[in-house]
Symmetry: C2
Amino acid sequence: MGRRGRVAPSQRVRMADVAEAAGVSRATVSRVLSHDPAVVEATAAVVREAIERLGYRPNRAAQALMGASRTLGVIFGEPPDRASALLLRGINEAATSKGYALTVAIATDAGGEELRRGLNTMVEQSAAAVMVLPATRLNADVLAAADVPFPIISTTDLGPGSPCSVAALDELGAVDAVVGHLQEIGRNRILHIGARHETLVSQFRRGGWQARVDEADLFEMADEWSARGGYEALHRAVARGARPDAVFAASDEMALGAMSAAGELGLRVPEDLAVAGFGGLPVTEFYGPGLTTVATAPQERGALAFEECMRRLSEPDSPPAHRLLEGELVMRPSTVPAGGSPGVSGL
Amino acid sequence: MGRRGRVAPSQRVRMADVAEAAGVSRATVSRVLSHDPAVVEATAAVVREAIERLGYRPNRAAQALMGASRTLGVIFGEPPDRASALLLRGINEAATSKGYALTVAIATDAGGEELRRGLNTMVEQSAAAVMVLPATRLNADVLAAADVPFPIISTTDLGPGSPCSVAALDELGAVDAVVGHLQEIGRNRILHIGARHETLVSQFRRGGWQARVDEADLFEMADEWSARGGYEALHRAVARGARPDAVFAASDEMALGAMSAAGELGLRVPEDLAVAGFGGLPVTEFYGPGLTTVATAPQERGALAFEECMRRLSEPDSPPAHRLLEGELVMRPSTVPAGGSPGVSGL
DNA sequence: CTGTTAGCGCTTTCAA
DNA sequence: TTGAAAGCGCTAACAG
């Protein structure tokens, strides 16, 4: 057959097949699929039966070509840790239940080039909205300047003036709770171990600590956002003469490394050195004697971000919202000796 | 405008806009985009300039409607741990560089219902191929029976006879290396702590251990795949009279919990109780005295899975391949006292 | 080497 | 309440 522009039709069951099987037109099948109340129940039942029998699945690409797409984008800017996996899970659960599919991209570079590419991918995929976990300030600027046809929801606080919605942890409040706790138990030489100074979370954690602490010699930059980074940082700080009575590490893993270094330095935790981290996944109960930390609810953050997507989509003209989730201080023996009363307290 | 079937054209720059700006036809733009050598360089340059200037991004939905789609699916069946995040990163890196976008779904239930839904999502998204991390045997059966228009690549070993390609860790070999190591250092009462018996990885780890160990009283089922699970399991095992001289835990976190329990029971690690885990992320260096484990290279596994996708796509008629990655035994003080010679040895 | 044109699978007017 | 037909943005077959 020499017809021009001929394209091999796919093997897949199409709407036309369903229509034929049900003895109706394609338009009617389409209406049944979108729960159009105009279709009389008897007809709808026949159509649904045919859909079921033939195993018909609509082609999203064709749907997206017409109107609103049912795809949401997720761009990861955080390191590939467990929290990011949980965040994805939170988003997925909510999205699946509402019939949305998820497309992902990863953008961990500081410069924003990967983020730009990620956003382009989302445009190409006709995403209806995109959730982003921007890593750095530059990334945040890329978001603000992005020329994209969908709303952006950031799961890191971008501060006021950003055109993006925010569904994030109240970082400053959470840090304040940990550092405040260390001060309440009588520590006044609180060393902060940070890393990757260019990232937004690093800046938040350091900023929250700075707001409560004066001594400039009590900051130590770790090489990496990891246990080894925390381990080496504490060793370095002590070697250069810092004499902390507490450590606030920017991540739980760094805190774990710091506790290991403390052991080598002959410092007892918590008697000589109270140690607190940030993150709060269940495993931290077994970090050292049990690590004091802040639970950051990544899964809830994901659900919140999705909710904000839906809100922006249903009220296209509403301004971007700024929704913050409270962290939860978890007190454990690394700051409160077993004799004390460890436990959990809301902020 | 009373034209029938009217649909609001999108605001986005379309191929037609580029064509007009460049003074060529849409077909030529399309050819430039797909690097068709038939287009003379001068024309191509003009087109590329117009694309750049207008900020044109092709609409994937429209592309997918025609021929091969540039979307790959990833279905997670593993718990949301760091390894799964790394696996995604490995896939993403390879996929991005080849111009593929990624769609994700999550299917962690044992029954396979979520997996079926996930596969449906991938059909709807016109995925060209799908990578799956199936959790359970039932999930594997769903995969085998799936009626889908794309090749499936499993990142868990499905054994022979499966219609899916496999790009996975050599689980049995890796377990054999750990348990063999424990035997080589003279341990012969090796307790295995497992969990979630319905999952394939649990079965592999238990099977590998069983192949080397006789005593039936040396298996203890943990409630969860976590540090707390390992902690409680060791306590239970000792309480019921098991007298292990070593522990092989099915995950690093369970091993961490077991070491904590060992401390409470007055057992020194490794003198009284050697402890080994499974997973091998860097943080395990700071689990207890340093945890012996197996590195499972999740990122490499992701890259391998992607490679296998490409192979299946370029050779549609070739049979599914079975590609296994070797684990790497990492010996640390939890089995080899500091006096010994800890280090890394390939399998 | 480039343009014309048909049609991918779907939704949406408009008419009946 | 349902059907006919147009067209979403793109690719590919064919003609020139």
